[in-house]
Symmetry: C2
Subunit: 367 residues, 2 copies
Amino acid sequence: MTIKISIDCMGGDHGPSVTIPAAIAFVKDEPDAELILVGLEDALKAELHKHLPSGHPRISIVPATEVIAMDDPVEVALRRKKDSSMRVAISLVKEGKAQACVSAGNTGALMAVSRYVLKTMPGVDRPAICTLIPNQKDCPTYMLDLGANVDCEPHHLHQFALMGSALVSALEGKPKPTVGLLNIGEEDIKGNDVVKQTAVLLRADHAKGVLNFYGNVEGNDIFEGTTDIVVCDGFVGNVVLKASEGLGRFLKNVLKTELKNGPVNLLGAFIAQGAIKAISQRMNPSRYNGASLLGLRGLVFKSHGGEDAYGFGWAIRRAFEAARHDALSQISTAISELMPASDAAAQASAGPGATPGINDINQEKTA
Amino acid sequence: MTIKISIDCMGGDHGPSVTIPAAIAFVKDEPDAELILVGLEDALKAELHKHLPSGHPRISIVPATEVIAMDDPVEVALRRKKDSSMRVAISLVKEGKAQACVSAGNTGALMAVSRYVLKTMPGVDRPAICTLIPNQKDCPTYMLDLGANVDCEPHHLHQFALMGSALVSALEGKPKPTVGLLNIGEEDIKGNDVVKQTAVLLRADHAKGVLNFYGNVEGNDIFEGTTDIVVCDGFVGNVVLKASEGLGRFLKNVLKTELKNGPVNLLGAFIAQGAIKAISQRMNPSRYNGASLLGLRGLVFKSHGGEDAYGFGWAIRRAFEAARHDALSQISTAISELMPASDAAAQASAGPGATPGINDINQEKTA
């Protein structure tokens, strides 16, 4: 079965010079993939021609005349650049011409445009950003939200838990993945009111068999892989993710500096180069690239803006797998089961302006 | 000038077998230190005799008949065990017989008992926990709060900034250390309302020359050493700290596993053992042990419960340096300058029951 993915080729720090080589490598590697490259036509054709002079039967180009810059405010992305590569790529999902979209563009713009074009799923108040984090168990921890929602109510975190659970169930083939609620202690009494009230909702779901709620988890559990999913508000999630990236870079620098300190250490490092390569591979954040924007009526994946073709390829892979495993309908089912029908109808008829949380998204970090 | 430090020798996972060797090593190393060991008399005497059969002129014992267990609820620590080693050690500070106290006991109990015995400083609504975190620049980042306050108002974060600034000024000899406000982006528009309102207060202090406010910082800035101090609420601080500890352990395991993977790597690691020792030393969290409980009318330092004598020695060192540099009066001055005199008087006459935030502390993690 062919899976069609639309790619915003202009996004990210490097644009087509990264996105197109990644797309070519992916399509060669994945016989079921068909990729639609979206962007400034001349730029795409030139880059594609460099690598594949005669083209590829499963790669096509859809032109867009505008590009959303990494520092464009959300308003510009949303109201001024109506023919941006990002918007055209997302619209292909809306029109059913692609099953998922990938972009390395500005996160705030991507969330706002996706929300405007695709709308939120019935029953979802606010979409969330979910990413993978490596852990001791070598099966990733999925964590959400990562910054789309800085102020959350318990029912938002509740929805994040359901969406995350459905995504992991689809992508990892786990029928009942475990969900942990990020807190400052394991005991029920710990945490602020929002977290305590969320735990009540999640425990009720667990009792009904809807969710496999593990209970509270702490910061260290993210990297210990205690649960498949870790749920938190976007402020905490964003700070933890960036702190972890910062610590990772710091430790990598320590490693480099010390192993290059004098000829003896250099010799040792040369002999143990197999181990050092393996360490660097396991510590490579590019393997975990590709965050999903959950809660929309279509699959949208976000690559880190600074990724190279290897990393961008992982984002395409995540979008492809989510589409292949029909993650969207699994999320939709998980969410709709919990909603009275009347709510679902009201939600479905509401326009994008009616959805709360847009302010949060408007201030989302450009990265 | 002699500095007297009281030590709760019964706290932590190991009690006297760790705290007493650490105290002996410290007193031998530091001619200006006088240490008061507090705990069950027989246990202390036996352990001391093992290492120093004839005692030490600058080590004395003050007996206490009770011990606060690591899992004792705050109520038990506060109301039932009135002759606990922790409480007696803190009381020595209150009575002016010691200039600072160190304990590896239960954090929640330590905060509650310290607050009850010493009271909060005039102008401080809620004490906070401040710890050191290693960074790229190899001068530590001081971060607070780490979990004493899960729900903060802007004026709480404001007080944390002032207390942290005064502490770093005293300990690191920096007259105007930089203060960063932890957020999800650098721009003023980013973050939740509490953070935005806090920034307004900190900018006003900066304009008055009271504080060196850098602006918003992000998670990665903690490890990049962008600012001397990072201010956040106790929920975020606790999660970030534990996540960092978890990631550190994870990476250490990866390093170990890969370097022991096969004889060639083992040989390389053996040759580069100097570098590996240096890496392990720089990654060793024990060097950063010793968090301060700020905002009390006395200096109290908390060691991690699981530390060995080397780590516990660092906590004694931090307490000693804070006392030697008179951190207490610097913090008190920084806070009182901002308070109208009437507030100060009201605060000073209020009992411990009147201070808000005790609920937060009551739920503080046992560790």
